[in-house]
Each structure stands twice: as C-alpha cells, then as structure tokens.
Amino acid sequence: MSPIRIVKHSVRTMARFKLRTGFMMLGSMVGVAALTFVLSAGRAAERKTIETVSRMFGDSAILIEDGGGHFAGGPRGQGSRLKLDDLDALARELPNVESWDPQQGLPGGSVRHGDVTERARVMGESERSEHVWGRKASRGEYFDAAAVKAADRVAVVGETVVRTLFKGEDPLGAEIRIGSVPFRVIGVLEPWGTDPHGMDRDNEVLVPITTLMRRVTNVDTIASAKLLLRNSNDAERTSTEIRRILRARHALAANEPDDFTIITPAEVRGMVAQVQKVLFLYLPLVAGVALVVGALVSAILMLVSVNARTGEIGLRRAVGAGIGDIRLQFLVESAATTIAGGALGIALGYAAARAAASRMHLGEVELITTLLFGIAASTAVGLLAGTIPAMRAARLHPVDALR
C-alpha cells in the first residue's frame, strides 16, 4: 500500500483522460496566468513609479503649482498669478529652502532643425534645475546663471530630440528654432525614460526660463516651481509658511481660495500609496476572480469525474483500497493536473508581464516574484479543486458505489 505507487498510478490515470485533464489544466492555467501577470507587472510598475516619483519629488521637496485647487486634476481657482518674484521672496524668507527651480513650459512646442520639424516639450528653467531635478547634461553643458540672467537663446535637448531632429548628427552647437526663435544647442540631457503620466521625458528641450517667457511664450507668470528643503521633517511647517507668504503677496482676502497649489512630501507619499493600492489590491482582486473561476472549473470537472467514476471507486474499495487511498488518488489527480496547468500559467503570465513591462518601459520583471506568486496561486487552485472532490470520493460507501 505504498503511497508512491498510488501517486504514480493516479498520474497515469490522468494521462488516459486527455480531454478532461486538458480542460482542468486550462482552467488553472488561465487563472494562474492572470494573477501572475497582474502581480508581476504590478511589481515592476510599482518599482518604476516609486523610482520616478522619488526622482521627481525626492523626499525633501515641495512643489508649487500656479492655480488653486487640488493636485492631479480637479477644478482650479483663478490662476496665472505665480511669478518669479514670488519664488525669490520665498527663498529669501524661508531658511529651510535650500534651492529652487521655477518652470514654465510649452507642452507641444514645434521645434525645427533644418528641414525637420518635431513636437517636443519645451521647458523654461533656471540654471539651478540641474541640481534641483537631479538631471545633468550627459554631453556639452547646462546653461548657467549668466545665460538665465541675460535671457540667452541657448538650449539643452533630450536624447529623443537628438534622434528625431538631428538623426544622428552631432547636435552640439547646432541651431534649432522654437516657433520662430533660434536657439543654439549647448548640451544633451541624460536619458530619463517615461514619467508616471506616460510622457517621454527625453523628448524635451530645456531653455532658460527668462528666454522662454520673454521671447517665446510672452508671459510674466510661471507654471510651477520645485523647492528643495534642507530639512524634510519641517516640510509641513515650511508649506504653511509658503502658503502664508504667497497669500500675502497675492493679496488674497481671508475668504478667497488659494490661487496656487502646494504639494508636500506627505501628499506625494499618499499618491504613491494610492498607486500601490491599485496595483496590489484592486488589480489582483480582478485577477483573483479569474483564479477562482479557473479553480471552480477544475473543481467541477473533478467532481463530475468522481461522479462518473463511482463504480471505479467501489471497485477499488472492493479490491482493498482504504478511504485514505481513494482520497490520495483523487487529490493527486487534481493536484498534478492543476499544478501542471499552473506551471504553464506561470510561464504565460511571466511572458505577458515581460511584454507589458517592455511596452510600458517598466524595466525588468523579477522572475523570482513571478514564481512565488505563481506557485502560491497554483497551490490555491489545486487545493480548492482537489479537496472537495477527493473528500466526496473517499466518503462513498463501497456498497453504494458498486451499485
């Protein structure tokens, strides 16, 4: 009465019923693949989000946006009041501000070089942007304070711009036109990839903010600014101070809403937590439904099989099988099948996650994570699909089963 012999026998039995076995495998494969895919791709997306968010905000930065209202959409109050002077004042009055960079942009600006015109994100920044955003020039150089002061027509371009506009030609020293204004390329930005909004951050042209405001957009307000803090523990207090100063400078009455928005590290952390919730709660929940359905399909097929094989169960009991032997056989049959299906599901889910990650620039998908999730999911399916039919088979009285 060796269990090993019964295990081997059970696996052979499953191999004889290819259609049923195939459908059971399919059921567990689809469920496991869905869950593996969502969790592995989710892991990659989470890593990518945290990486980009921390690169954009750091954990010791405050973002100020022109216009009131809430971060990331929602109605905004009256805007276009934030000026370069406001930032100078903040930097002057708040000792916790280590450095700051104002921004003004031209989202879909047309950039021309020779006969080629491309759309790119044109950003006006200060010379401190290199430090504040932590993004350097990989070739050439960044514009300096003098260039910003003099509103020089110089530009630093991203790698995508180099590829599309210059087509492999050396961009340094070349002339580009933003709208009709000519600029001289003095540097190339180090690559950054895609940001959380799916925007290609290498398709950018950075110019001194003064030049952009005076010669291209012709405005005197800025869109946003990033402030680096010396002490991130004081972020909340600094944020309160910023609000007080800006409201005073904009002469807002007590009942008037802010005409700017302040984003603190706490809010950024909240945003990341929100993303994590979607990636690891809502999406897996949906995939979990697929897993449960797959498990149910397998369980029902196994139950049907137990019913159809009542006579066989009776016979096995008659020739000496104990209750445990019958239970073991049916457990092994369903477990072997669903785990084999699960293995295929893991492979499928991993391949899909890799494909998705590469399409969405999420970086590497960890095989080990995928394996862990997949094995856990397969085991869950196997237990679910195996236990109930096996118990049912074992409970049959031999006399009834033989009838």
Partner: protein
C-alpha cells in the same frame, strides 16, 4: 473455514422505512466448496455477499473468516483483509476503461503490501487463458474476455474466497458457459467460490445451493450431480 452465526442486517431507506435485509442467517462454508446463493432480487442475497466480502458489517451476529471473528473490524482493517483474502467478480465486470488487461489485473497489487509482485499479472491472465490479450483494453475485448480479466484480477492475491455476484448476468450463453467452466476448474484446483445468482441454471453448476427468501435461508443442500462443463468442453 467461513462461518456466519445469526447475522442480522437492517437498512433504513431514505424514506425512513426499515428494511430487514438479513434475518438470523447462519451459514458454514468449508474450504474448497463451490456454493451458490440463489434468490430473487430483493431477497437479501447481495447484502449477504457484501458481508461475506467485508464490504459491509452486520448489525448483529458473528462472521468468522479463517476462524477469526471479523464482524467488528474497523473500515481500514476490513480493507486490508479484503485485499488479502477476498476476490470479487461483478456482473458488470468493473474494469477500468482505457487501461490494459494487465494493468486491470494488477490493480489489487496497488493496495497490497506484498513484496515482490513481478509477473503475477501475467500469470493470472494465463490462468484465465488470456495470455494473448495482455495489452488489450476492455473496449477491445468481448464480454466473456472482460469477465475473465475480472476473474484474473480477483485471483491475483490468491484469495481464500472468490465471490461472484451474478457473474454471467451480462454475458451470452457461450461466454456464460466459459465463465462457469472456469469457475469449476478453479474450484477443482481447490479454490473456495461463492456465486450469488437468481439464475437456477447457473446454480446448477455449483456443488451446493443455499436459497434465500426475504432475508432468511430457506433451504441449503448439496447438488447431487452438478453440470460439468469441463467434461462437456472436452
């Protein structure tokens, strides 16, 4: 060697109605006997066979197998004993589909704790004259051949008792004769066989007939001259 003493068995139907399947049944079977238990359907003969085969336990009375009282064994002990001491042959053969004759015959070995079992399956198939059908599946065999595979399966563990429940019920005349001839040959070689049947023609091949009606043994006597199919075959 096999003795039933005052066996009672009562079932409860799903409707709550009690069915007295066996009432005070006593029966003694000697080693090497060939006994027919004859009776109409519903007479209690199947219940009697289930108790003989340790598939069911009596509510009262004692069952002595090989001198050992087995009426109070646990389900697990019963299963072990069935594997070692009892071989079953059923009306509907109960062969595993898509499985070769040899593997079907070897099925009881799966649940046995015997050491070496190599070659036993082939030997058992030889004993039922099916050496040339070892790798055939049930669907490739005739009814008579399938029942002979089932008999080989029942014999593989050299049981003390061979129990057959209407073994010819699903067979044509020719195959039925073959199966009965096989039983007679096995009995002649010393095997104890109990056949449960409603067919007096089948019973006439046995050495002794016990008739059962409404759960009681109503007659029990030897057959003076059993029909001898082995001689007829020769």
């Amino acid at each position: 060697m096999i003795e039933l003493q005052h066996i009672n068995k009562t079932y409860t139907r799903p409707t709550g109605e009690a069915v007295h399947a066996l009432i005070d049944v006593s029966l003694r079977i000697q080693r090497g006997e060939f006994l027919a238990i004859a009776g109409a359907s519903g007479s209690g003969k199947s219940t009697l066979m289930h108790i003989f085969g340790l598939l069911d336990s009596p509510d009262g009375g004692h069952y002595l197998l090989d001198g050992e009282d087995v009426s109070g064994l646990s389900v697990k002990q019963q299963a072990r004993l069935r594997n070692r001491k009892v071989g079953f042959v059923f009306q509907s053969f109960h062969l595993l589909p898509r499985t070769s004759a040899l593997e079907n015959v070897e099925l009881p070995l799966l649940y046995s704790d015997r050491g070496s079992t190599r070659g036993l399956g082939r030997k058992a198939l030889e004993a039922v004259h099916l050496s040339d059908r070892i790798h055939h599946r049930p669907s490739e065999l005739s009814g008579g051949q399938q029942q002979r595979v089932a008999i080989a399966r029942a014999l593989i563990n050299e049981p003390d008792l061979l129990l057959a429940d209407e073994p010819t019920g699903n067979l044509d005349r020719q195959s039925a004769s073959e199966v009965m001839a096989l039983f007679q040959a096995l009995n002649k070689a010393g095997r104890t066989i109990v056949v449960v049947t409603h067919d007096s023609e089948v019973a006439a091949h046995c050495g002794r007939i016990a008739r059962i009606e409404d759960g009681r043994i109503v007659s029990d006597h030897p057959v003076p001259q059993p029909k001898n199919l082995m001689e007829a075959a020769q």
